[in-house]
C-alpha cells in the first residue's frame, strides 16, 4: 500500500508539531541546568551564553539532595522488589488455578487502582499516627511506612500484567515439569519465571517508577529525615531565591535512571499491554 503525497506531508507536520511539544520542555530542562543562576533569573535565553556545570555541584549543598536521593532509592528499590515478589505469587495463583473468590479478588484489586488517592490518604495517615502512638511501630514519617504504602500502589498493575505474561506461557510446560515430579513452587521458579523474565523486569521497573514519582503520600507521610525527592526538590525555592538552574539540574539527575529504564523496556510494556488490556 503506497503512501500518497498528502499523507506523507500530513505525517511530517504531525510529527514535527508533536516533537516540538515534547522536546521544548526537555530542552529547557537540560540547557537551564547548564546556566549560572544570574542567567536563569534575568529573562529567558534559548542558548546558555555562559555554560557551566556549577549547578550540578551546588545542588548537593543547597538542599540535602543526597539524603533525599538515598531515601528515594531505598524506598523505591525495596518497594519494587517486594511488590514484584508478592505479585509473582498472586499472579501465579490467578493464572494457574481456579478457586472460589478468584473473580472478586481480581476486580477488587484492580478497582482500588482507580480510587482517589486522597480517599486513602487521610485514614492511612491517622492509622499510621495512631498505630505509632499505641504500639510504638513507627510507620508515620518513616521509610518503612512509605515502602508498605508504595508497594501496594504498584501491586494491582503488577499482578495484572504478570497474569497476562503467565497466561501466555503454555501449560504444557507446567505439565511436563509436574510429570517430572516438580511441585507447584518448583514449577513456578524453574519453568514459569524463566520464561517470563521480560515481564518480571518490566513490572519491577514500573513498580520502581511508581514509588520514585509519588508525590501525594510523600508530602504528608515524611518528615525531614525520611523526605524523598518528590518533596525534597521543592526545597530549591526558598523565600529569598529560586534556584531554577539547580532545580533543573536536580530534575535531570533524578529523571535519567527512570527514563532510561522505561525506554529500554518500553517494548515489554507494549507487549504486556497487548496481552492484557487489548484482548
Amino acid at each position: 500500500m503506497r503512501e500518497t503525497a498528502g499523507e506523507r506531508w500530513g505525517r511530517r507536520i504531525v510529527l514535527t508539531l508533536l516533537t516540538l511539544f515534547v522536546v521544548i520542555p526537555l530542552y529547557v530542562m537540560v540547557t537551564s541546568a547548564a546556566k549560572p543562576l544570574q542567567d536563569v533569573q534575568n529573562g529567558f535565553t534559548w542558548w546558555p551564553s555562559r555554560p557551566t556545570l556549577q549547578p550540578f555541584v551546588d545542588m548537593w549543598s543547597t538542599v540535602p539532595l543526597a539524603r533525599y536521593l538515598v531515601n528515594s532509592l531505598v524506598v523505591s528499590s525495596i518497594a519494587a522488589v517486594c511488590s514484584v515478589a508478592v505479585a509473582i505469587f498472586a499472579a501465579f495463583a490467578v493464572s494457574r488455578y481456579r478457586f472460589r473468590g478468584r473473580g472478586v479478588f481480581s476486580v477488587t484489586v484492580l478497582s482500588t487502582q482507580m480510587f482517589p488517592g486522597i480517599l486513602f490518604l487521610l485514614p492511612l495517615f491517622l492509622i499510621y499516627v495512631n498505630l505509632g502512638n499505641a504500639t510504638g511501630i513507627e510507620l508515620y514519617a518513616s521509610r518503612t511506612g512509605l515502602v508498605i504504602t508504595y508497594l501496594t500502589f504498584s501491586l494491582p498493575f503488577s499482578i495484572w500484567m504478570l497474569v497476562g505474561y503467565f497466561d501466555s506461557i503454555p501449560r504444557g510446560l507446567d505439565e511436563a515439569a509436574q510429570v517430572d515430579g516438580a511441585g507447584p513452587l518448583r514449577t513456578l521458579f524453574q519453568v514459569i519465571l524463566p520464561a517470563a523474565v521480560p515481564g518480571v523486569v518490566a513490572v519491577t521497573v514500573y513498580a520502581f517508577m511508581t514509588a520514585w514519582g509519588e508525590v501525594l503520600f510523600a508530602s504528608v507521610m515524611t518528615d525531614e529525615g525520611s523526605r524523598t525527592l518528590a518533596v525534597g526538590l521543592q526545597g530549591y525555592s526558598t523565600q529569598f531565591n529560586v534556584y531554577w538552574n539547580q532545580i533543573m539540574a536536580a530534575s535531570l539527575v533524578v529523571s535519567i535512571p527512570v527514563v532510561v529504564g522505561f525506554l529500554a523496556l518500553q517494548r515489554y510494556f507494549v507487549a504486556g499491554l497487548t496481552a492484557g488490556a487489548v484482548k
Binding site: L18, T112, L124, E175
Partner: protein
C-alpha cells in the same frame, strides 16, 4: 502507569465458544494453595486499601477535628453532619466544593480529549515503518517516563512570568502580546494546568493505542485500499472500529486519573492552587490539612468516590449495551 479496570477480567469471563483450550488445566493441589499464594497480596491490599477505605467512611461520620486526631477514639459521632455541612450547595463550603467539581470536570474532559487526540495522531502516523521511527517513539514516551515532579517543575519554570520561555516567545519574540501575562495565577492557570496535564498524559494514550494498532491485521488496510478508501475513510472504517476495545478502557482510565489528579496542580502551583485551578483532590487536601478537619475531608472523599463509581458504572453499562446492539 496503572492501567487497570475490570475489563480484561470481564472479557475473560465471557463465554468464548470455540476456544476451550484457553481455560487453564485444573490440577488442584489442595484447595488451600492458591489462597496461600495470594495471602501476602490480600494482606497488603487490606492494610493499605480496603481497611483505610472503610475507616475513611467511618471517619466521615465523626467530628474529627484537630482536638481528636491524636486519639480518635474520643471523636464524637455526628452521623451525616459532615456531609450536610460540605455538600450543602447553599453554604460557603458547599459552593466552593461545587466550584471545584466543575473545574475538575472541565479539566478532566478536556485533558482526556486532547491526550487521546495526540495519542491517536502519533500512533497512526507511526504505524508505517520509516527511518527514525523507533527514536520518535522513545522520544514521545519520555514525558510519561519522567517523574511527575521533575516534569511539572520544568513546566512551572517555562510558565514563569518574567523568566519563562512561554512569555519570552509570546511577548519578546513574536510580539503577540504587549504585556507579560501571569500563567500560574488567575484565569490562565486553568489552561496552564491543562497543557501540562496533556503533555504528561498523552504518551500513555499513545502507548495503549500503539499496542492496540499492532493487533489490527494489515490485510484490512490492503482490502480497504483496494476498495479505494482514502486515509480518512480507512481511519473511520478500519482503525477506529478496531481500536474500540482499547478506547473503551483507555478513556475511562484517563478520565479517572485526571479527575483524581493531585500531583500536577500540587507541584505546578506549589501547594497553593489558584481558585481557577482548584481541582477536587487539592481542594480536599487543603481543607483537611489547613483546618485539620478530617471528618469533613473524609466526607468529601467518600462523595467523590461515589460519584466516580456511578460515572464508571453508567459508562460501562452504556458501552456494553452498545456493544450488544452491534453484535
Amino acid at each position: 502507569m496503572a492501567t487497570s479496570t475490570t475489563a480484561p477480567d470481564a472479557g475473560r469471563r465471557e463465554p468464548r465458544a470455540g476456544t476451550p483450550a484457553r481455560e487453564p488445566a485444573r490440577r488442584p493441589r489442595g484447595p488451600l494453595l492458591p489462597y496461600l499464594l495470594l495471602a501476602p497480596a490480600i494482606v497488603l491490599e487490606l492494610a493499605v486499601h480496603v481497611i483505610p477505605m472503610v475507616v475513611g467512611v467511618w471517619m466521615s461520620l465523626l467530628e474529627l477535628t484537630q482536638f481528636h486526631i491524636r486519639d480518635w477514639s474520643t471523636a464524637p459521632f455526628v452521623g451525616w453532619e459532615n456531609y450536610r455541612a460540605t455538600l450543602d450547595i447553599n453554604s460557603a463550603a458547599g459552593k466552593e466544593l461545587l466550584h471545584s467539581f466543575w473545574i475538575t470536570l472541565a479539566y478532566s474532559l478536556l485533558s482526556v480529549g486532547f491526550a487521546w487526540l495526540l495519542g491517536i495522531s502519533a500512533a497512526v502516523v507511526l504505524q508505517r515503518p520509516f527511518r527514525g521511527r523507533a527514536l520518535l517513539r522513545a522520544l514521545f514516551l519520555t514525558p510519561y517516563a519522567l517523574p511527575v515532579y521533575a516534569a511539572v517543575i520544568t513546566w512551572s519554570f517555562l510558565l514563569q512570568r518574567d523568566t519563562g520561555l512561554v512569555n519570552h516567545v509570546l511577548v519578546d519574540q513574536l510580539g503577540l502580546l504587549n504585556e507579560r501575562p501571569f500563567w500560574l495565577i488567575g484565569d490562565n492557570s486553568f489552561w496552564s494546568l491543562l497543557v501540562v496535564s496533556v503533555w504528561r498524559n498523552w504518551p500513555f494514550a499513545f502507548l495503549c493505542l500503539m499496542a492496540g494498532l499492532q493487533n489490527v491485521p494489515g490485510e484490512l488496510y490492503e482490502a480497504a485500499a483496494i476498495d479505494g478508501a482514502g486515509f480518512w475513510r480507512r481511519l473511520r472504517s478500519v482503525t477506529l472500529p478496531m481500536l474500540r476495545p482499547v478506547n473503551l478502557v483507555l478513556l475511562l482510565v484517563l478520565f479517572l486519573w485526571t479527575f483524581n489528579d493531585f500531583n500536577t496542580p500540587f507541584v505546578l502551583f506549589g501547594g497553593s492552587a489558584p481558585e481557577q485551578a482548584d481541582l477536587i483532590s487539592i481542594h480536599i487536601y487543603r481543607s483537611s490539612f489547613k483546618t485539620w478537619d478530617f471528618g469533613s475531608g473524609s466526607a468529601m472523599s467518600v462523595a467523590l468516590l461515589l460519584f466516580l463509581l456511578v460515572v464508571s458504572a453508567v459508562y460501562l453499562l452504556i458501552t456494553n449495551r452498545r456493544r450488544d446492539d452491534h453484535a
